[in-house]
């Protein structure tokens, strides 16, 4: 598919799709006329990327995480240097802390909303 369709299906501007490609987060083939040509899995990939960006990860880190997400699992073991593995572990832990922070605060919001509703059931 061309960039317009991918943009529409992922709710992402064309500008950003090109940016993600520039950052190495997605790839595209080129049609004979120079247009970008995306395979079907690009849709999920872009959605993944957007979710991670929205959760505060920079493209630099997302790029390192992406190989972990490819199913069918295609692990290029030789590429997995010890530093790389260390980075992944650190990021994984950081993601856990982030998620905990989000859930903790989310629960506080829920509590707050419940309290307000108990006070004024009309809302």
């Amino acid at each position: 598919m061309r960039i317009g369709e991918l943009a529409e299906r992922t709710g992402t501007s064309r500008r950003l799709l090109r940016y993600y490609e520039e950052q190495g987060l997605i790839v595209s083939e080129r049609l004979p006329n120079g247009y970008r040509d995306y395979a079907e899995p690009s849709v999920d990939r872009v959605i993944q990327v957007r979710g991670l960006l929205d959760a505060g990860l920079p493209t630099r880190i997302i790029k390192q995480i992406l190989p972990c997400l490819d199913k069918p699992r295609q692990i290029y073991f030789p590429d997995a240097t010890p530093e790389m593995l260390g980075t992944l572990e650190a990021e994984r832990d950081r993601m856990t802390r982030r998620a905990e922070c989000l859930l903790r605060n989310r629960d506080a919001i829920t509590e707050y909303l419940d309290a307000v509703r108990a006070y004024d059931p009309a809302s």
Copy 2:
């Protein structure tokens, strides 16, 4: 305490503490000489703010969430407009989605690491 101590205890630059105050995320008294004077709870507050910023929330939203986090619970019911409650609900749901995204991807990283380690137990 003055800004230097708060900075040290929260691992945050003085510059950022002043910025958070400007954004309405923290408050401070002033000493007779004009220096900022922070109460003890500011430490936790700053840590909260940093966690939420790191999880991708903009200061604008964090500011709206903060009143939910004050314990002992001090809910200013008259301030709770219906729009405000709607915003809170929406943000709460967004936080849930963010956390899910983080945990999902974190699990994928863990799987990946396990697979690599199964291949080469040395790492």
